[in-house]
């Protein structure tokens, strides 16, 4: 393995700097305090941490929605600026966290995919775009008839499948998935995760997978970075970190994580996954113990 696909060097993000009305400097809030990580080609890399740790901020930097205050990103060895050209933008695509707000509410799925494919010159005619859209939907286990419907017509799980299809439309090399199932019903989380994993293997994608749940990460990812309060406190191969956590925080996170059935049990991604066993409350993992200091700004996640 030569060069990593994506490298983050000393990535910092501060919010709310600037000056007050009276000209005094406001104390900026550091959401990312200089993190470094690498994602190798074909690898699924996870960032875990509790809510407010800065995971989404890191993801937004990678996808180009957040300008880092300091530090840099390298993609295949080349600097990856905040303002990106078409090739750089297409190479990194994202599956969003909330399928209920991540699809344009008044557009049919077909119109949205058509726009995406043609604006990016992947297809040059309406017919070609439709054909490609059908293929994309097929990849995520959705029927062609979905094209003529609006997001409202679909369940959360179906919407997230559409969200995955949209992310794949631009044929990215790196897929960023920010807590892609945390807004979904526990009973369908596994099938969406299985789909994501299957597509990643099949298409040879690299993946930046963000989660607050170590059990999910164990099944999906090769390497993991544990974040706490804007910093990466532990990183390494998933098995190593999980079986032998060096940080107290990681142990707590591990204790709070859920027991998902192994993904291999969920054979057909399109089938509604049978909740194999009544699992622990999976939606939200609140690490016990005094982990993070109470943060008044922590509601945003």
């Amino acid at each position: 393995m030569s060069e990593p696909l994506l490298q983050a060097k000393d990535l910092c993000v501060h919010f709310g700097g600037g000056r007050t009305m009276t000209g005094r400097r406001k104390q900026p809030f550091a959401a990312l305090k200089g993190i470094d990580f690498e994602i190798n080609a074909g690898e699924a890399f996870a960032i875990v941490g509790e809510s407010g740790a800065g995971k989404s901020t890191a993801a937004r930097c990678v996808i180009g929605l957040q300008r880092p205050t300091r530090g840099e990103l390298l993609f295949a060895g080349e600097p990856l600026p905040f303002r990106r050209d078409r090739v750089q933008r297409q190479a990194i695509q994202m599956v969003f966290q909330d399928p209920y707000s991540s699809l344009s509410p008044r557009m049919t799925i077909g119109t949205a995919l058509d726009e995406l494919l043609r604006v990016n010159k992947i297809c040059d005619s309406r017919a070609a775009a439709r054909k490609r859209s059908v293929e994309l939907l097929e990849m995520v286990g959705m029927p062609e008839s979905a094209l003529d419907r609006r997001p409202r017509a679909f369940s959360g799980g179906q919407r997230q499948r559409i969200g995955i299809a949209r992310a794949l439309a631009l044929e990215p090399t790196l897929l960023v998935a920010d807590e892609p199932v945390s807004a979904l019903d526990v009973s369908i989380q596994a099938s969406v995760l299985a789909l994501l994993k299957g597509l990643q293997r099949e298409l040879g994608l690299s993946m930046l997978f963000i989660s607050h749940d170590l059990a999910v990460v164990r099944q999906l990812c090769d390497r993991v970075a544990v974040m706490w309060d804007g910093e990466i406190i532990e990183t390494g191969p998933v098995e190593e970190v999980l079986s032998n956590p060096r940080q107290e925080f990681t142990k707590n996170l591990l204790a709070a994580s859920t027991d998902l059935p192994p993904l291999e049990m969920v054979v057909d991604p399109a089938a509604p996954a049978a909740p194999a066993e009544p699992t622990a409350p999976a939606g939200r993992a609140d690490p016990p113990e005094p982990t993070a200091p109470a943060d008044p700004t922590a509601e945003r996640s």
Binding site: G64, I92, F96, S102, P105, M107, E115, R166, A169, L170
Partner: protein
């Protein structure tokens, strides 16, 4: 008489939307449902538009021809179905032509502020930063500025007339729409579907008009339907100040104010245009309310 349309306060969009909710249209809609209310409103307002368009065909008399010997005749006498006014002009004809002028002014005075406010507010709300700060500053200034003062100044410069009214209302009223669309496009701009469009490389102009606009346009439309009525009423106020539609052109507000001295005997002079205003208002209110309920705002 209120000059609400000309004297908005910072609270106005919210206050107005609340007003629509409590309106006659709202009460009717509760009984007949959104679809029926929308249909009825369109029928009423459509009829008004038709009357306005065909005024010259259906009016029995010239609305401006004076006939002093036959002033203030009772309804039905000598072919004057609604009687004549203090100058002997046929009230029905003036009413029909009045529809043309009032609806024209109302549409003009709603359309321009609507379009300008919607687009400016959307751009500023979406883009944020200094552009947004500048817009908020301008909105506050215009809200604080007494609209009537502006109007009087404009009348001196441009002379009284329909154009002056439309320009003055546009200058002050666009901020209501701007504020409304700024707030909602700011909110939409942080939604994940907009972020997805951005990471998908959709050009900003396309994001604004194809993704943001359809999701923020309903509230301004509802505001516009209630605004149109307020503007018709405001023209009446202007008539009192001699700043309205210049005579002899007929308009409902002026008709009402001219009828004042005769109110205890020739009451129909005021009631006829009053009823016309109420019916138009009901139509607009039904449309606004039906739309809001159907498209699920509020």
């Amino acid at each position: 008489m209120s000059d609400g349309a000309l004297n908005p306060s910072a609270e106005l969009p919210r206050a107005r939307r609340a007003a629509v909710g409590r309106s006659l249209g709202g009460a009717v809609r509760k009984r007949i449902g959104a679809n029926a209310s929308l249909t009825l409103g369109c029928v009423i307002f459509g009829t008004m538009l038709l009357i306005a368009a065909l005024a010259s065909v259906i009016a029995p008399f010239n609305p401006d021809t004076q006939d002093i010997p036959h002033a203030l005749t009772a309804p039905g006498v000598e072919g004057h179905l609604l009687g004549t006014d203090q100058l002997g002009r046929d009230v029905l004809s003036r009413l029909l032509y009045g529809a043309r002028i009032d609806i024209f002014i109302a549409c003009g005075s709603v359309l321009f502020p609507f379009a300008i406010g919607l687009i400016v507010g959307m751009l500023a709300g979406y883009r944020g930063g200094w552009v947004d700060s500048v817009l908020v500053g301008i909105i506050d200034i215009v809200f604080a500025f007494p609209a009537l003062v502006l109007l009087v100044a404009l009348v001196f410069v441009l002379g009284p007339g329909i154009g002056t009214i439309v320009i003055a209302i546009t200058l002050t009223d666009w901020v209501s729409y701007a504020q409304l669309s700024r707030t909602s496009s700011r909110r939409e701009g942080t939604q994940e579907y907009i972020l997805a469009a951005r990471t998908g490389g959709i050009p900003t102009r396309r994001i604004l008009f194809r993704h943001v606009l359809p999701n923020i346009i309903v509230q301004p439309i509802v505001l516009a339907t209630s605004d149109a009525l307020l503007i018709i009423i405001a023209i009446t106020t202007l008539g009192f100040l001699g700043l309205g539609v210049p005579p002899p052109a007929p308009d409902w507000g002026t008709m009402i104010s001219e009828a004042q001295p005769y109110l205890n005997v020739q009451w129909w002079l005021a009631v006829a245009p009053g009823v016309a205003i109420i019916i138009t208002g009901l139509g607009l209110s039904l449309i606004g309310d039906g739309l809001a309920a159907k498209l699920d705002v509020r």
